[in-house]
């Protein structure tokens, strides 16, 4: 299967290129970048030196191919997707352009007017743990955001079991700097970022819409930037309609994810790695989930950790491709991470 990456010079694009070069069923033949056209891939991604002789090409030179990954900024995918689909390519979009079904949500969260409602309806939300059967028939796959992925996987079992009622869930998310992309800006300056613990979206974060769409829960999301390059940790505070003990939480989450290749349940009795931690997940496609019962406040705490560029973006996109193409789901995604790191 031949593949192309559009927007390959960014961090998500670079992670896609890395994973696709190591995928035994995929031949990566095109990587586009407007800013680095004509330059070798390793110029943007030095970890890929000697891994490929490909050079970036401008998007105007993109040729039809079997699967096209779009690692483009929000609003840049929507105009090019119809042409790619007409050319017969499977499209896996990592922007937010096709994640939401409701055009009104785009108007509210992204300040964009969407009239391509048929395509919005046609797109399959790219989370295999929730939509595996639909992904097998998809022609347009919308890969969720990094915070959304951790939060949805954490919240969904509680919501699906009807344990949330009408009560909102509070999600406190922390993310590393690579989640904000490669474009230079004052927030990325070392002087601003080093040592940071900044609430950059205490309310109203765009990923709220995705999480609510996929869980049915009412979501109160607060997002923070922390001192890390990769990683997302979403801490969910839920107040179920009936009290949950930890044994019940184990059973609930084991039923939901016990057979999933990339979701691990982590809530151990002792040791320093008792709960999910993004640090050891760098470069992997895992989402680790943990939980705890707090009888004092009748609260259930659920923790979701992942690499924002891995399961939170490129790794999940490759997992979606594997499902769609009928490859074993773990193909090309076997990296187990590093420890210590």
């Amino acid at each position: 299967m031949k593949a192309a990456v559009v927007g390959g010079s960014g961090y998500v694009g670079g992670e896609l290129v890395r994973l696709l070069l190591g995928h035994p069923e995929v031949e990566l033949t095109q990587v586009t970048s407007e800013t680095m056209a004509g330059k070798p891939i390793a110029k943007a991604h030095p970890n890929l030196r000697k891994a490929t002789r490909l050079q970036f090409v401008p998007r105007t030179e993109l040729q039809p191919t079997d699967v096209t990954f779009l690692a483009t900024p929000h609003t840049e995918s929507a105009p090019i997707v119809p042409g790619l689909l007409d050319g017969g390519s499977l499209v896996i979009d990592l922007s937010a352009d096709f994640r939401l079904k409701d055009p009104a949500a785009y108007a509210h969260y992204y300040r964009t007017e969407r009239t391509d409602t048929a395509l919005l309806a046609d797109a399959v939300f790219g989370l295999p743990e929730l939509h595996r059967d639909q992904l097998r028939r998809a022609r347009l796959i919308a890969v969720p955001g990094c915070i959304s992925t951790a939060a949805i996987l954490a919240v969904r079992p509680l919501a699906a079991a009807g344990l949330l009622g009408a009560r909102p869930v509070v999600i406190d998310a922390k993310s590393g700097s690579s989640a904000s992309g490669r474009d230079a800006g004052p927030a990325g300056l070392h002087a601003e970022r080093s040592g940071v613990m900044r609430a950059y979206a205490p309310a109203g974060h765009r990923h709220t819409a995705e999480i609510e769409q996929e869980t049915g829960a009412t979501v109160a999301l607060s997002c923070h930037a922390v001192e890390a390059v990769r990683g997302v940790l979403a801490t969910v505070h839920a107040f179920p309609t009936e009290p949950l003990e930890e044994k019940g939480l184990w059973q609930l989450y084991r039923r939901a994810y016990g057979e999933e290749p990339f979701v691990r349940l982590v809530h151990e009795a002792d040791g320093i790695h008792r709960e999910p931690e993004p640090k050891i997940l760098a470069g992997t496609n895992f989402c680790d989930l943990g939980f705890a019962a707090d009888p004092h406040t009748r609260r259930t705490v659920v923790l979701g950790a992942l690499d924002n560029l891995g399961k939170g973006a490129a790794g999940n996109a490759v997992q979606c491709l594997n499902v769609r193409a009928g490859f074993p789901e773990t193909t090309g995604l076997g990296f187990l991470g590093l420890h210590p790191v």
Binding site: E246, K247, W250, Q251, R254, L265, H267, E268, A269, D270, G271, R274
Partner: protein, 53 residues
């Protein structure tokens, strides 16, 4: 097979003996074998401050 009293994971006997202490494969809780036929476990007592005196 029996069930971990903490997380309900399936726990196999695997030729364990009465009194043996082993960690649950899922949650890591230290379990103590009570009987082998039938296979039964309970959470192993943690060392208290006055133990060993």
């Amino acid at each position: 097979m029996t069930e971990c009293p903490t997380c309900a994971a399936s726990v196999a006997n695997d030729e364990k003996i009465v009194g043996e202490i082993f960690p649950c494969p899922d949650c890591g809780t230290e379990l103590e074998v009570l009987t082998t036929a039938p296979f039964a476990v309970e959470t192993a007592p943690k060392e208290a401050e006055d133990w060993g005196e």
